[in-house]
Assembly symmetry: C2
DNA sequence: TTGTATGCGTTATCAT
DNA sequence: ATGATAACGCATACAA
């Protein structure tokens, strides 16, 4: 408690006039085996010296680090944080610690962080893939480190995927938009990148539109380029047909970008339909409210850990896919007949 | 590369027909000292075996973990995440790794995490205090672990504080509100808790109001109790005086809660003034836009690390306080004369 | 119930 | 330029 030098097990042992072993047992799982008086002596000595077992040494010996790694593609995305929160809780309940690394969607950082996590001998990895599939990831998987893919799929890495049931989500969105009378849709998404073959999602959207006789357009957009997105949306809204139009946003970031653009375009939410995947704090507050498909972030996070810890790193159920919840708001409620009075004014 | 068993330095040494020492040197700072042919052999062997130095063992021997800990009170607060992002970057540049722990504002979790960080022998700690001041924190500080307090102050812990210049922020807000013609203010904040004596901030607000002849009310509110806040705000708005009223929100969470309530109350932003500390993604999108005082989150994060690494854990400049940036939007622009037409419609 | 001895993978010290 | 060997702090098999 007064030492600047970190107390070691041997010092505690000396102070309690016993052996390293007993002290080790005291701080391990075998406290029971020690006689009450000895326990008391050790407790006294340890607290006096401000002793904490050195996790490094502990991990070195046993080979078990009790560390789970998590790679997050974009820590500033509230969705990622929400999932991470679930992961964290699940880890805590298992007595595991979580080492979170943010990759900022940068493959280079992803590599670095992966090296770090490897160096710390993590016992499991939850990955929200950033860039292309890496040899590093495959190596880790090959070395037998349990691994779970979050949200973003990855070919040629043999790991379970946990996240939203995308086909279902798309279907729910299309059902809702159709029921509300929208007929011409634009699906806006960030570019899938070589990592995640979202052909599934896209295919589902296109088949879904076809089956419902909806016009289903698609636009992939890097959100760094706002101007481009602006153009595309403006073009979509002023398109030739007069049928009711709606936008479907692939995630929270897209929803934000699109909402901003609609705002500057002075579009009326509802008249122009808008629905996004991911529920955000502010969706109820903008104009008449923005409709969303909320992901069960907490469940997804917990599921990821459970899946990680499952024997053989395999869940019992086929896939770790979760259903979203539709939160319908004004942005998908078309004005009665006439184009309504005014709402969502300029500035 | 094909081993399930993690390769060790000794295996690499054998494969490269050399000694542990040389391999250690290769992966350490002394690669230069090795002859090119030997370097090549080691590189070959290591990559073939998929070898990564075990950071545990490394930390055990040298005593240096290259680990920085960060305690975040609420990971779901975008402000915290933004600062964390800055911390992370600064760490990366220093070759340090960041171990982030979320305490969910729970002192118990704070203790646990602190124990963990201690166990991993972190070489520095950035703390966004959750609850009351802990013995653990003091111990850590006493043991000579560099420490920086983020945003929230803490008595009886001798560590530098990095964060917003609160007096300045309050002053800027009051100046702006006064210039815009608001005369009756309500400052809404989360309860300060025993940890952080925000008397400074409060005092500054009250003195500031007095100096400007403004009516300055204050309300501390735990954001879990929305109903209570609702009542208080309703009462404030329907208060007897007819002088223009404005709300000042102490942070992003408060801004969100207050905005929601104003929304349900059908209040017209601008007519009712609103300004918050912390810039949020959506502030420009709600009604006429919500005015904010943006914190330089990135700079704060980086500053925290710099302060941590500074010799003696002390900055040169007196305090690590940063100035905010005023972002004026419609929520602090009063309608010309008549109470204006309509904006921010119900739903 | 308690203690002794050994090894975990690495770096540092001292040789050569 | 390279190598042998002793710590680092702890857990565990084994002995008492």
């Amino acid at each position: 408690m007064t030492q600047s030098h970190r107390a070691t097990i041997i010092e505690v042992a000396r102070a309690a006039s016993t052996s390293k072993t007993s002290v080790s047992r005291y701080f391990g799982e075998e406290r029971e085996r020690l006689s009450p008086p000895l326990q008391a002596r050790i407790a006294e000595a340890a607290s006096h010296l401000g002793y904490h077992p050195n996790q490094m040494a502990r991990g070195l010996k046993g080979g078990s680090s009790r560390l789970i790694g998590m790679l997050v593609a974009d820590i500033r995305n509230p969705f990622s944080v929400a999932v991470m929160h679930g992961v964290e809780q699940a880890c805590r309940e298992q007595g595991l610690s979580l080492l979170v690394c943010n990759t900022d969607n940068d493959p280079a950082q992803e590599r670095e962080h992966l090296a770090l996590l490897t160096a710390y001998r993590i016992e499991g990895l939850v990955v929200n893939v950033a860039g292309s599939p890496h040899r590093e990831l495959q190596n880790l998987a090959a070395q037998g480190v349990p691994m779970v893919l979050l949200d973003r799929e990855l070919v040629d890495v043999d790991a379970e995927l946990v996240g939203l049931d995308n086909p279902l989500a798309i279907d729910m969105a299309l059902d809702h938009l159709q029921a509300q009378g929208y007929r011409e849709l634009l699906y806006v998404s960030e570019p899938p990148g070589q990592a995640s073959p979202r052909t599934t999602r896209l295919g589902c959207y296109q088949r879904g539109c076809e089956a419902r006789s909806l016009t289903g357009k698609v636009h992939y957009q890097d959100l760094a380029d706002t101007a481009m997105l602006h153009q595309v949306i403006a073009a979509f809204l002023t398109g030739s047909t007069r049928s009711p139009k709606a936008l479907l946003c692939a995630n929270g970031n897209v929803t934000l970008a699109v909402t901003r653009i609609l705002h500057t375009l002075g579009a009326r939410l509802g008249e122009t339909g808008l629905i996004g995947i991911d529920e955000l704090d502010w969706c109820a507050l903008v104009g008449p409210g923005i409709s969303t498909l909320a992901q069960p972030t907490d469940a997804i996070g917990r599921d990821a850990v459970q899946c990680l810890l499952a024997p053989g790193n395999r869940r019992v159920a086929p896939r770790g896919l979760h259903a979203p919840t539709l939160i319908a708001r004004g942005s998908t409620r078309r004005p009665a007949q006439a184009p309504a009075q005014e709402e969502e004014p300029e500035q």
